[in-house]
Amino acid sequence: MTTRVGVVTFPGTLDDRDAATAVALGGAQAVPLWHKDTNLNDVDAVILPGGFSYGDYLRAGALASVSPIMKSVVEKANEGMPVLGICNGFQMLCETGLLPGALTRNRDLHFICRPELITITNTKTAWTNFFQPGAELLIPVKNGEGCYQLTPESLAEIEAKGLVVARYQNNPNGSVNDIAAIANEAGNVVGIMPHPEHAVDGLVGAGVDGLGFFWSIAGVTV
């Protein structure tokens, strides 16, 4: 049975179409979801795509994190449903508390849009099980508030538990410990600041290194 991956559109979401295309290229079926929905339409997994939900008002991801659909997403995520938050979606996952930490204004205040090399450091998640540990990927970053921060105690905890999923090789935004992606302890929820869905077609992207995230999810859920 084909894995059904919900892709949520919020007002101000930009990357829902790219995410849906990437899901399909990965071999799963993309199911559009709307921020006012509470019914997840029996999807096996959910992607929270990038963009500027609710105009980034208040804080990036803050208002999206209290939208009707996110109540259902949080509930299902706590039951083990895989959720991938990309960029603005990562910000939402931190705002809901599904992932620790927060994403703040880039160190140099610039919006950064360019491919960056990242190293995969955790292959036990629902979204990275396709990769080998230490895999190097070229994935576009595209953010103004991508500086990942958390308290020293929380940082020590996620490092000790191996929850860092990917690190930048050349930290573009000031994130602590070069963190580009993290997971929850169960490994079903992953937040990533670079955009794997923009690296799935060699004709229009930096390469196809992002496909592994979508192959991972197409293979892990029934």
């Binding site: 803050a62 209290v66 930490g101 205040l109």
Partner: protein, 88 residues
């Protein structure tokens, strides 16, 4: 003239959190010769207008919102107080 009941919520980045906006503002001040300014932190102020008198229950309700929505406890702290003044 009538009484305007407002609850004020002020949100600030925590001291240990890098505030690049505040730092940029400080840099401009220093560049323009204001050498006495050693630090600038940028925060937010919310003015929340309510109907009826500000009760403890209402303050608690808004404090819950301040703690969970208006501020992010990972990076921000907040202060909340009632502002019962004459308005327009």
């Amino acid at each position: 003239m009538h009484l305007v009941e407002k609850i004020i919520v002020e949100v600030m980045p925590k001291p240990e959190i890098l505030d690049p906006q505040g730092r940029a503002i400080q840099g401009v001040f220093n560049r323009d010769g204001h050498g006495a300014i050693t630090n600038v932190r940028q925060g937010k102020r919310f003015e929340i207008t309510v109907t009826g008198p500000i009760t403890d229950q209402l303050l608690d309700e808004v404090e819950e919102l301040a703690a969970t929505v208006l501020s992010n406890p990972v990076i921000e702290s907040y202060a909340i107080y009632a502002d019962e003044g004459e308005g327009e």
